[in-house]
């Protein structure tokens, strides 16, 4: 039995709380949120011990692990306080807003021997795990290009100011949406060597981006195109899709299915054939002990709990999430470069004409 506290009871925190509270090996010892209405109602109806002040909770409650699901700018200091008290930490994504802090926290967790995980739940989606399996087997040969997309209907009109509408507090589609496909790219291919052509554009939001586009360059000539927009009402909910092109075929993956085209199936797992193979989520997903809104949310919490019990390293360690923080910082820096220095050269066409062999 491990003792867990949940900090931050917004959409993700409430969902994590319900899931971890249903875990047979967990006792939730406290929850913490600034909204006294929410903590009052929970305490009254469920008997859970509640706090409005994080520091007081840490001082008064003995716990083995904490789930941090506060607004992103608060992550770093809270994670640090937990680690310094010897508490295992699951932190919501994005991990931090500053790659240096992410590295410090990664080092601190390692030094203290504490289990650490960040909530990039797509690594627990059957279809994206299957992509990892196919890439490890080199099923589509050398991957030359990836199109990484995410679309959904979050910001559809101008609206009032919250932390989610401010980039410096971790708001915006880059931190909220794009972080997911970027984290998958990190999982599959490690760190990009360079980024370029980054567009972080506001559609409706005053103080942050609603769409993010960029090119990422990896070692060995692999490139990836990021295309993310959270002001897209044509999608019922967030939809993340990867298209991977390789020398031996193509993989298209989203939450529901993996479609794979192989020229030659000899390197692929036995259940794949030449030409198209389609595998659906019903077959790729492992059942979970408790379900609220997708197996991946339960699976990542279970993974954290088991890792905390055994002291094992997690699939979504701070180190891996720090890579994603670093890529996000690279994209922000690229997007803010003086446009003049990266504007397309307008005279190329006329110059080319002069030297064209077609005269």
């Amino acid at each position: 039995m491990i003792r867990v506290a949940v900090v931050g009871l917004g959409k993700m925190g409430m969902s994590h709380y319900a899931i971890v509270n249903a875990h047979p090996d967990v006792q939730v010892v406290a929850v913490c949120d600034g909204s006294s209405y929410i903590t009052d109602v929970l305490e009254k109806y469920t008997g859970v011990k509640t706090f409005s002040d994080f520091g007081q909770m840490l001082a008064k409650v003995e716990m083995d692990a904490a789930i941090i699901a506060t607004p992103s700018k608060a992550h770093a200091s809270m994670v640090k306080a937990c680690l310094e008290k010897g508490i295992h930490v699951f932190c919501e994504k994005p991990f931090t807003l500053n790659p240096l802090e992410a590295q410090e926290l990664t080092a601190l967790a390692k030094e203290r021997g504490l289990v650490n995980q960040v909530g990039y739940h797509y690594r627990f989606v059957g279809a994206f795990q299957e992509v990892k399996r196919l890439l490890d087997a080199k099923a589509i040969g050398r991957v030359t290009h990836v199109l990484a997309e995410a679309y959904g209907p979050v910001v559809l009109r101008p609206k009032g100011s919250t932390w989610r509408t401010k980039r410096e507090e971790g708001g915006g589609c880059l931190y909220d949406y794009a972080a997911h496909p970027l984290n998958l790219l990190n999982w599959y291919f490690g760190m990009p060597t360079a980024v370029g052509g980054t567009v972080l554009n506001s559609i409706f939001s005053k103080e942050t981006d609603d769409e993010a586009y960029a090119t990422l360059h990896f070692e060995g000539g692999l490139s990836a195109q990021l295309s993310v927009n959270w002001s897209d009402e044509s999608h019922r909910k967030m939809s993340t899709k990867l298209t991977l092109l390789g020398t031996n075929g193509r993989i298209v993956a989203d939450r529901q299915e993996v479609q794979v085209y192989l020229r030659d199936a000899s390197a692929a797992p036995a259940d794949y054939r030449e030409g198209w193979t389609v595998r659906n989520t019903t077959k790729l997903t492992e059942e979970v002990w408790f379900y609220i809104r997708g197996e991946e949310y339960s699976a990542q919490i279970d993974h954290f709990v088991r890792s905390a019990q055994d002291g094992r390293e997690t699939v979504n360690s701070f180190a891996s999430a720090a890579e994603t923080d670093e890529v996000i910082a690279m994209l922000v820096a690229d997007a803010s470069r003086d446009l003049d220095t990266r504007a397309p050269v307008k005279t190329v066409t006329s110059k080319r004409k002069r030297f064209s062999i077609f005269g």
């Binding site: 009871l9 917004g10 959409k11 409430m14 969902s15 709380y17 319900a18 899931i19 509270n21 249903a22 909204s35 006294s36 209405y37 929410i38 009052d40 109602v41 929970l42 305490e43 009254k44 109806y45 469920t46 209907p153 979050v154 910001v155 609206k159 919250t162 989610r164 019922r236 909910k237 939809s239 899709k241 989203d254 939450r255 529901q256 299915e257 659906n280 989520t281 019903t282 077959k283 059942e287 979970v288 002990w289 408790f290 379900y291 609220i292 809104r293 197996e295």
Partner: protein, 287 residues
């Protein structure tokens, strides 16, 4: 309850197998006439209960049924509330309190509740829940809604939080205000059944995935079979085809053999598929 209930996932671009299929369905059914024509086909095949989300487009279906009482003499709705994405998107945008304010008609009461703090907490939750339920039920005024469901994402969230009193608040209000039976949709049927039994909610209607593939049957297929056999509740099977992973005949034969099953809810987009499912149920459902 009828043996066969008609579901609505296909009308709203919900497909657990494929985003492409989901989009094709969303395109096909964006005109409400296309939805009504499939509902008519189901009705004429004898499938007369429409188990539907309280999605805003259902209001158009409700209007049509209200306007044609003779054509739809035996048509009944089983509303399932809330339409979760409406709330999920709002929570991202406005937070939990802001969302409650947005979807409850009486702003004064909510503001008073927020200011009141813990001393009002009991009344607050019940009052807010009733307001939210009434807002969702508005579109069905004057129509037959003999069973009203709480959607699985809410049921399972409350189950995880161990916020059990909310189940009783929902059940009491549905009975008192609408003269209807409360229903609960869940992905965690064995757990929910035991919790509702402990709460003293007698013989509840519970809709859960029940399929031969064991797809989204938390607790495991054996626990489901055992619960069906040994507990007293009115069960509705959904996702009987495991989102298309099972052949129709094999799926229906298996589910019809489960003990104490009262209904099956299924979705289809053509009269042929509706008839096929009805014929399979007629063949395999013995009692």
């Amino acid at each position: 309850m009828d043996k066969l209930l008609f579901g609505d996932n296909q009308f709203f671009g919900v497909n657990h197998m494929s985003e492409e299929k989901a989009r094709a369905q969303a395109m096909r059914f964006q005109d409400i006439e296309a939805v009504i024509s499939v509902l008519d086909a189901a009705y004429d095949e004898g499938v007369r209960t429409f188990m539907c989300t309280t999605h805003e487009r259902i209001e158009l279906v409700a209007d049509r049924v209200r306007a044609n009482p003779e054509r739809y003499a035996d048509f009944q709705f089983y509303p399932c509330m809330p339409y979760a994405h409406k709330y999920a998107n709002a929570v991202t945008e406005l937070g939990i309190l802001g969302t409650l304010k947005k979807f409850t008609p009486d702003e004064g009461l909510i503001s008073a509740a927020f200011k009141g703090g813990i001393s009002l907490a009991t009344k607050d939750v019940e009052g807010i829940a009733k307001l939210l339920i009434d807002a969702e039920m508005k579109m069905f005024a004057g129509l037959r809604t003999p069973v009203v469901f709480l959607q699985n994402v809410v049921v399972d969230l409350l189950l995880g939080l161990k916020f059990y009193e909310a189940f009783r608040i929902f059940a009491d209000h549905i009975k008192a205000a609408y003269g209807a039976e409360p229903g609960f949709i869940t992905m965690n049927m064995p757990l929910l059944v035991s919790v509702l039994a402990d709460l003293g909610i007698e013989n509840p209607i519970i809709c859960a995935n029940i399929n031969k593939a064991g797809f989204r049957m938390c607790g495991g297929i054996e626990a489901y079979e055992q619960t069906l056999r040994t507990h007293s509740f009115r069960s509705i099977a959904m996702s009987v085809f495991a989102s298309g992973a099972l052949p129709a005949s094999e799926a229906i034969e298996w589910v019809c053999a489960q003990p104490n099953l009262e209904s099956i809810v299924f979705g289809a987009s053509s009269r042929g598929n509706i008839r096929n499912t009805r014929e399979l149920v007629d063949r395999y459902w013995e009692n």
